[in-house]
């Protein structure tokens, strides 16, 4: 087939849209690249198509959607006065709104309580800025002191536990030092003037009680208070 300028013009969009293949495409390109009339035409249409594909969608005016709704479904009724108020209340009567309001209320209660306001014995003076500041400061110090005391108590408890554990370990690892010696020269059932041999359990109990006494002596120093 001989590709004339008319044919090139007729198949221009087929070429640009990728509808020409193989020999047709090659013949088209061969003519279009060498023809002084077809080459600029191809270039200008190609750039035009590229430009149109790059053109962005026109932005829809926001009022258009409402105008369409008015036109298809009819104009919306405008309510005033009590009806408008009831509409607002009805709009708020949803589980989502109720949950949101409850959580906000709970947050406010916690916040106000932490600032020293008593709901059992409410006083107007508690809402003054200076009182709010002082109460907040007092609450902060109280919380700090309580947390320090709590940590200190925990340390004492852990210390007792670790000492007891250490003592048990010592007893298990060196039983021969604790067990009473029975000499071969001593006959069974005979006694001498030396201290009698003690059972192992009694020995451990004595050791534990000795450790507890030591700890009891140290406790006021560690916890920073007297123990009575």
């Amino acid at each position: 087939m001989t590709w004339t300028c008319d044919l090139i013009e007729a198949r221009l969009s087929d070429y640009l849209d990728g509808l020409l293949e193989g020999a047709e495409r090659s013949a088209f390109e061969a003519h279009a690249s060498s023809c002084p009339d077809c080459a600029p035409l191809l270039a200008s249409v190609r750039s035009l198509v590229r430009e149109m594909h790059a053109m962005e969608e026109v932005e829809v005016p926001p009022r258009l959607v409402y105008a369409i709704l008015d036109k298809t479904l009819g104009p919306r009724e405008t309510v005033t006065g009590w009806q408008a108020f009831l509409q607002v209340v009805r709009g708020m009567a949803t589980p989502k709104f109720a949950y949101g309001a409850a959580s906000v209320f709970a947050t406010l209660v916690i916040l106000v309580s932490s600032l020293g306001f008593s709901f059992r014995n409410p006083k107007l003076a508690d809402l003054r800025p200076t009182n709010i500041y002082h109460n907040a400061d007092r609450q902060a110090h109280l919380v700090y002191a309580r947390s320090v005391k709590y940590v200190s108590d925990l340390r004492v408890v852990y210390e007792i536990q670790s000492r007891l554990r250490q003592d048990e370990n010592n007893l298990q690892t060196t039983p021969e030092e604790v067990l009473p010696k029975s000499g071969p020269e001593k006959a069974p059932g005979q006694t001498d003037d030396r201290s009698p041999s003690q059972p192992r359990q009694q020995n451990r109990a004595n050791e534990v009680s000795r450790q507890l006494e030591l700890l009891a002596a140290e406790l006021p120093l560690m916890s920073g208070r007297d123990i009575r």
Partner: protein, 167 residues
């Protein structure tokens, strides 16, 4: 609804080149869709294709009724086109150039005959497939291809006469 509104308004604006007219026509399209929704069958193609057909028919009716755009020189219309703001990646000078070109292409479009104009709008601005355009225009595929081709060539020549050369 917003997706269809975007397409309908886009076609109306590209066809008329006038924002107010496009808004009125888009409302008319929705009214017609609302009234004739019962006549929609899946045989018409997708719903979007059917809505596009309704839009096209209304535009042709409007064109025939008014016949105004046959004598209107759209180049005198200096209405600013508010384009979508999804072009943040482009440089300001490129954006300005593209905006200017878009305006000039839009102006050149209104000089095309309605048959060629609607074919080019559906193909190159709405990115519809040939089969969809065939359904919308209710003409054979060969006619669709021919109209798109002639429309593009005619549009390129109009732009050249206007002294515009798309890059």
């Amino acid at each position: 609804m917003r997706r269809h509104t975007r397409r309908i308004y886009g076609i109306c604006y590209r066809f008329t080149g006038n924002r107010t007219e496009a808004e009125d026509l888009a409302q008319e399209v929705y009214l017609r869709v609302y009234r004739t929704l019962g006549s929609y069958r899946s045989a018409h193609g997708g719903f979007a294709t059917w809505v596009t057909s309704v839009t096209r028919n209304l535009l042709i009716d409007h064109y025939r009724r008014s016949k105004r755009d046959r004598v209107t020189d759209s180049l005198d219309d200096k209405m600013a086109v508010v384009e979508n703001k999804e072009s943040a990646g482009r440089r300001p000078d490129e954006q300005a150039l593209l905006g200017e070109l878009s305006l000039q292409v839009q102006n050149a479009l209104t000089k095309l005959s309605p048959e060629l104009r609607e074919a080019v709008i559906l193909r190159d601005l709405q990115q519809l497939e040939y089969a969809e355009i065939q359904t919308v225009l209710e003409v054979p595929e060969g006619t669709v291809k021919s109209r798109i081709n002639r429309g593009r060539i005619e549009l390129a020549r109009i732009l050249q006469q206007m002294g515009v050369r798309p890059a």
